[in-house]
Every structure is written in structure tokens, then in C-alpha cells.
Amino acid sequence: MIPSLRREDLRIIGFNLSKILFIVSIVMLIPIIVAVIYGEFEIIPHFLIGSSISVILGSITHHYWETDKEMELKHALCFAALTWIVSMLVTAIPLWTTGSTNSYLDANFDTMSGFTTSGLTLVPDIDHLSYSINFYRHFLQFFGGIGIIVISLTVLSRSELSSVLTFKGEARDIGIKPNIVRTARVILGIAIAFMVIGSVLFTAAGIIEGANLRTAIFDGVNYSMAAYSTGGFAPHSQNMLFYHSTLYEVIALIIFLIGSFNFSFHYSILSGRRREIFKNIEIKTFFTILLLSTLVISGLLLFSGVYSTPDVLFRKAFFQAASAQTTTGFGTLYPVQISTIWPSTVVFMMAMLMMIGASANSTAGGIKAIRIGVMVKSFVREIKKALSPRSATVETTYHHVEDTPLTETVAKGAMLIAFSYVLLFIVGTTITMLHGYGMSDSMFETASAVGNTGLSSGITSPAMPDTLKVTYIFLMWAGRLEIMAVLVLIGFTILGIRRGFRK
């Protein structure tokens, strides 16, 4: 029997959410620097409105729900899930009031897409968007890619226990450093370092490829944030096509591949454990799937007569496959081309890659390569068991930063998450099809939302039905949090409604 909820439970969650509101209010002030640089003074009040509302709400909740009680697992999971909703609601204000989106719902869609590093967008005219708002969208992706809670922990953490629980609620590993706050800070440090390196590389490439300095710098910073966070937003409606450049795409590929690796893996490599590259189950699984799928996709595109030369196949097949599996969503072709000129088998394979995703505890989404690796290993173990004598014991280990025995619990956990993703995928595809879209497009778009990828078959647009927008917001949110936190929040809400909150 699950015990009834108490008002104190609400206070604990609300009090911690107030801190997120303060952090988010600062996030909304940062684009003001860009507005000043580009002389967009008329945009500044919109950021001030969003930031002020966030501060006022944060102050009220902080005061009235103040508590010194530690979080339990249920609070941490509900807090993690609500953090993304609250952040979405307040950060949507500047997008909406500036008229960058057609409605407040569309603004929420874009901020959720930003925070979850999905990259699907409902901004109707990206090419004429103000520089500060455009920067803001990319900055939200970078912020969300690292993890709202990770960033919050680096500056606001008070206790180890609450921190560990919330960290896990946001679907993060805790194994980098013994102290959770230091782990969060390591993640933040790594992300900022790669973002700066990426900005320099993209800017240099932009200048080499003939863009003017102003555009090259602005695009460099934004593409870098979107690439490292495996987000997929771009400052132009043509996405990667704007530059018509192999060099630009190679840099993007490197940055988003790095962004899709596990933060623990980054830390191992940066600590000098280079052999981890060849031993890590997650990296091996990821590259095996990517290379095999690229081969098949290239073959199918070659035989269908769409593309014919190796450099074209690299820019279209390999880049798109990598963009899909790392759940980045950068596109080197127009969304609608995927469904109109690519064979449906390729569309299906791309959807599967988006569902599989890259590394756990990274900026990427999807089921994650480590779970696929663990599931494959546990299948092999079962086959070995069946072939071995009854008295024999079959033990399997896998290497992920350290050698770990493959227990039943680990295997079941991986399968449970994979099953949840598949369930979300089926539900999302069905709902999309009920709105009158074809099966192949619906599967592709749903996989993109659930896997937080951002590639589109053309369904996502400001004209799509509101019910579908809400569905995709839910899918992006649930996919980013690996479902569990969302299910606990739903359970918490139902329990609260049915039994009320005791004093």
C-alpha cells in the first residue's frame, strides 16, 4: 500500500523548483548582451519581462514553500520532471511576446525542444529572427544539453543526498567524481570548453567559406552550442545547407559526435585513459551501429539513383545517419526531401537510429547505445547458458569506464527503458497517424521527438494541429527524462487527486 501524500511533499518539490526559477531568470538575461551588441534594444524589455516573472514566481514559492526537509526519491523524480515543465513555461515568454512564434503554445514547443535538445521548431521565419532571440534558442539548447539540474547543482547545491537523487531523476550517471557537485562542475567545464573550441572552428570555417565576419561569428557560436548539445537548432531555415560546405559539415560532425559521448567517457579520456576508446561497450556499440547503418543507407541511396558519388554519399548518407543516431538533427537536405526522394526503407532506418540514440549521461537522447550493448550481451549470455551444461555458470561482464558484471538487474533495467521508448514511439506514431499523416512520416517524426533528435519529415510546422504540438511536447519531455520521472510525476498527481494531501 502506497502511503498517502503530505503537504510537506508539495513544499519540498515547490521549494526546490523556486531555485530553478531563479536560475532560469538569469538564463533569460544573458541574451541581452547579444541584443546590445546587435543594437536590438526593442527586444531587451521582452527578456526583462520573462526574467522578472521568473524571479517573482521564484520569490513567492521560495518564501511560502520553504522547508529544510531532504528530498526523497519520489520528490527528486517529480522535481526533475517539473523542472523541465516550469523552465519551458517561463522561458517561452520572450519567444511569444516578441512575436517570434505564432502563439504561446508554439513558444512552449520551441523551448521544450530547446531544453530537451530536440531541435524541432515552430518558428515560422528563422531567417528574419532577431539575433538575440536566435541566440536565446541556441543557448537554451546548450543549457538543456548539459542539464538544467546539473547546472543548478553547480551553483545551488546544499546536500549530497538531494543532489544525487535529483541528478538521477534527470537521467544522469553519477560516476565521474565521488562528490556529486564536483561531478556536475566537471560536466559543465567539459561542455564550456568544447563549446568554445567549436565556436572558434565554426567561425574559421565560415570565414573560409566566404561568409562575412559578422555572420561567421554569430553562426559559429550558435552552431557550436547546437552541435555540442546535439540539439540541431540552426540560425538559418536551411540548417546546415546554408553554408553549402563540406568543411562546415565535418566540423559539425566532430563536435556533435563528441557531444554525444558519455561525460564519464570524456572524463576518462581527459584523465589519460585513452584505451577506453577501444574498450568501452557504449562507444563500440555506437560506432558499430553507425557504420553498419551508414553502409546500408549508402547502398540503398546509391541503388535508388538519388546520389552517385562518394563525397555526396558522405554528406548525405553518413552525415544524416550520424546526425540521427547522435540525436542532433542537423540536416543537409530539406525535411520534406527525406520523405519525397529517399526510399522508405531508409526513412525507417533513420527512425530506428533516432530511437537508438547515442550515449547515456551525455547531451544525446534515445534508448542509448549502452543499453543496446547490454541487451545484446545478455541475449548472447542466454544463448551461451542454453548451450552449456546445467551445472555450468555463465558470467558476463561489460566494460564501461570500469569492468562491471552484467547482472539480471542491469539487463532488466535496460530492457525496461527500451520497452518504454518503444511504447512511447507506438503511441506517438498512432496519434500522429490519427491526425491524417502517413505511416512512414508519422514514424519518422515521432522517433525524432521521442529520441530528441529534431530531424523532420515535414510534419512539424506552425500549421500542424495544436493537439499534435502538445503530443510532441510530451514526447520530447518524456524522452529526455527517460520516462521514469514522468511516470512518477503522473502517479504522484493521481495519488494527490484521489487521496488528497494530508497535513
Binding site: P45, D127, Y131, H236, S237, Q238, L241, V312, L313, K316
Partner: protein, 168 residues
Amino acid sequence: MMKFAVVFMLVLLLAPGLATAETSKELIENARAFDGGQVTLQGEVIGVMMRGNNAWVNVYEGGYAIGVWVRAEDARNISFIGDYSHAGDNVLVTGTFNMADPEHGGDLDIRAENFTITAQGAAILRTPNVIVVAISMILVALAIVSLVWLWRIHKGEEKIAPWPVYWR
């Protein structure tokens, strides 16, 4: 006969301008049908990248932008590139449409044969909305008051971890 010949010559000369321009949406959504054919596109310049004797000009029309491969000298005549604070030059392009140009990495593009600037762009002056400014000032004041109120109540209670240090 002479009159007919003059009219015929005039039609030939003005043909690119008189031709019905395709929309970007039509071209992208029906790329197979247009592949390898002559197309006309009219729209706003939103990006220019010089590449030696040629240049990429991204032309925006009806929510989509398409890359147009033009001669560098044509691109140099462009005065304004469209963005938030500029209306870009309006251009009329006639050229060969490629669904997946093998010489350009498989990109969908138009290789321009005729590139005409039909209207020069201009800077767009934007002024702050007085009501929005007033609302923002009121909310900022309220936010500051709420923070001061919170700080006075909880002075000395909060203990947060020191600022991030990475070199430990």
C-alpha cells in the same frame, strides 16, 4: 512580318522576366519533377558566400530558402542581405534546378544563368513598443522588491556550495 519579328525578339529578350516564377515550396516538394529543368525563382537574398569566381546566394521565398550558384560579379552587386534589421535585395533568378547536384555535394540548388536584382533592399528601423517597455519596468521593479524582501527575511540562512573550481 517585320512587326511580328520585333515582337518575337522582344519576347525572347524579356522571357526570363515574364516567366512565371516557381515558389521555393513547389521546387523543394516536387524536386524530382523539376530536376534538370529550367526554373525561375524570385525572392529575397538572405545569405551570400563568395567562392572564387562564383558565389552562393541563398534566396528566400515563401518560408523556404534555396541556394543559388551565381557568378561572383553578380553576387558583388548585392547591396543588402536580409535579416532581422534588413530587407534583403529582391532578385530574379533563372537557371537549372538540381535535386541533388553532384558537383555540390548532392545539395538541392539552382545554377543561375540569369541573375537580376529587381529591387534593392533597405535597413529596417525598429522602435521599442512603449507599452512593453512600461510593463517590463514595472515587472523589473516588482522582481527587485521581491528579491530584497526575500533577502531580508532569509538573511544568513542559505548556505550554498562555493563557486565552481575545476583544478582541484
